[in-house]
């Protein structure tokens, strides 16, 4: 198993946001966490990335515990998070943003990885000298994903990559997720767009108010009555 999350409990002050959540991701899989707004999906990813701390349990990546590692060290282990809302560095150029993604990597990897990212996202190469703040929402999402790929992650975590995007761009982003998966990247995907997420996922977990309430393969959950009623509109 590439990632094992075991019995984590996360609090925001007095609010118990994540209640005894456990799940795992195998190498080469796309696993998705779905659930309503406020179910704790982003909190879970932020905790794995080291931005938040769990009071209990453990998070193991590649057999090693990352539960107490500061966020800036987690990246170097091969775990990259594309945060909710993209959070590109708006006043820096597209290429500088990508260079920041490679911060933990040896200088010699930057050129070949830049080339790979530009092949994957030709639009970014066209705009490499523009500041990231001038990009459209879809382009910013591509930049945020490209930036994370610059660290050559073993596991790519995507937090709401389709948020705020037009339907045609949502399709594009999910095409890219499929391509990355085919190229061998392991992906942990958090989405409110449950239909799209379940269509690409090998396995899925449903989060409800901080707890895992259901799990199964993507197609199992897409057929399940409970999921259809709650998240797929009947």
């Amino acid at each position: 198993m590439l990632l094992e999350v075991e019995h984590i409990n996360v609090y925001y002050g007095a609010i118990h946001a994540i209640k005894d959540v456990s799940f795992s991701v195998n190498e080469g899989e796309i696993v998705t966490l779905i659930g309503a707004n406020g179910a704790g999906k982003s909190t879970t990813l932020d905790t794995i990335a080291g931005l938040l701390r769990s009071k209990t349990g453990d998070i193991r990546f590649n057999g090693q515990s990352v539960a107490h590692m500061p966020a800036h060290k987690v990246v170097a282990e091969g775990l990259a998070l594309v945060p909710e809302g993209r959070r590109v560095f708006a006043q820096m150029t597209v290429e500088e943003n990508l260079e920041m993604g490679a911060f933990t990597q040896a200088a010699s990897t930057v050129e070949p990885n830049l080339k790979r990212v530009y092949e994957q996202f030709p639009r970014l190469e066209e705009r490499k000298n523009q500041t990231a703040g001038t990009l459209s929402g879809g382009e910013q999402q591509m930049l945020a994903m490209g930036r994370a790929l610059m660290s050559q992650p073993k596991l790519l975590m995507l937090d709401e990559p389709s948020m705020g995007l037009a339907p045609i761009l949502v399709e594009q982003i999910f095409d890219i997720i499929r391509q990355l998966h085919e190229a061998g990247t392991t992906i942990l995907l958090v989405e409110q767009n449950a239909q799209m997420a379940l269509s690409v996922a090998d396995r899925a977990y449903v989060l409800e108010t901080g707890r895992v309430t259901l799990s199964g393969t993507g197609s199992e959950l897409a057929r399940s009555d409970e999921v259809r009623k709650a998240y797929l509109g009947g």
């Binding site: 990335a49 080291g50 931005l51 500061p70 966020a71 800036h72 060290k73 990246v75 170097a76 990259a80 998070l81 945060p83 959070r87 590109v88 560095f89 708006a90 006043q91 820096m92 500088e96 260079e99 920041m100 993604g101 911060f103 933990t104 930036r147 994370a148 660290s151």
Partner: protein, 292 residues
């Protein structure tokens, strides 16, 4: 010719303000705090170079380096002990702490060197006479302006070309996202304090060489004015600090020459108020709306 001489002394004074303002603006840009102890680091730089020259008999340029080394360490220590524990505290708590650190430095200097002004041996002396003696420019002024331009160019190159410089800009935009890139935010903030404090030491030496008295409160007025310069130019912006510092120095020098020596400070601050009324983000500052 008189005008030219006032202009040159204004540019020289403004260069000192600009060097100090760079420290304010870089620290604000990354830590989002006003380090009101910054002015007193100037004073420490002055005393340290004084000790190096008069007690240890080191040459001028070595004492500048000694002052820079001590202030660099001082900046890192102040940040680690006083400000880092308050990283997620309300900004008012940080501001009051900064004022506390400022008094701590002033009073420590008073304990060590006493409250009386001492006369500072200029690091650079001599005067350049031009136009048959009609225009005199001290070498200190020339060195000050040259140092300011050099520092400005070096900092611009650092923030736009080097990995650590870019990381600094990334941290000042979004600390969370910077951490996700693998950037150690605490170390980057520490580096910013180190650079700002080393520059404060340079400013201290240049200031004391132009106005050769030194006492524990020497840094406060230039510190406040450099802070004004940083806000004037647009706080957080490096070229803004440069422009704000120069303009402030020129305005002060002109006000002293043509309006009133006593009122020169009031005029400087009045200009700040007017600029902020017209352009709240400062001359080169960008108004960035808060995202909700």
């Amino acid at each position: 010719m008189e005008f030219l001489s006032y202009l040159i002394s204004g540019i020289s004074l403004g260069s000192v303000y600009a060097i100090i303002a760079l420290g304010y603006t870089m620290v604000y840009g990354i830590a989002k705090m006003l380090n009101f102890a910054h002015g007193d680091v100037i004073m420490v730089g002055g005393y340290m170079s004084f000790v190096a020259m008069s007690a240890l008999h080191l040459p001028g340029w070595v004492s500048v380096l000694a002052g820079m080394a001590v202030c660099t360490v001082l900046g890192i220590v102040i940040e680690a002990l006083a400000y880092r524990p308050l990283r997620s505290a309300p900004s008012l708590a940080v501001l009051i702490t900064a004022i506390g650190v400022s008094y701590l430095l002033q009073n420590s200097a008073q304990l060590i060197w006493g409250a009386n002004p001492i006369s500072y041996p200029p690091v650079v002396s001599g005067t350049l006479h031009l136009f048959g003696g009609q225009l005199s420019i001290s070498y200190v002024s020339l060195v000050t302006v040259a140092a300011c331009i050099l520092i400005m160019l070096a900092l611009t190159a650092f923030t736009s070309k080097t990995k650590m410089g870019k990381a600094m800009r990334a941290c000042s935009e979004d600390k969370g996202a910077a951490q996700l890139m693998g950037i150690n935010v605490n170390r980057t903030i520490s580096l910013t304090f180190a650079i700002g404090s080393a520059l404060a030491a340079v400013a201290g030496v240049l200031l004391c060489s132009s106005y050769p008295t030194l006492m524990p409160t020497t840094g406060s007025m230039p510190g406040i004015k450099a802070f004004t310069a940083a806000v004037f130019g647009g706080i957080g912006s490096i070229p803004g600090a440069f422009l704000g510092g120069l303009l402030l120095g020129i305005i002060e020098s002109m006000a002293k020459a043509y309006l009133s020596t006593q009122l020169s400070n009031s005029i400087v601050f009045a200009v700040l108020i007017i600029v902020l009324l017209v352009r709240p983000a400062g001359l080169m500052g960008k108004y960035v709306p808060e995202k909700v």
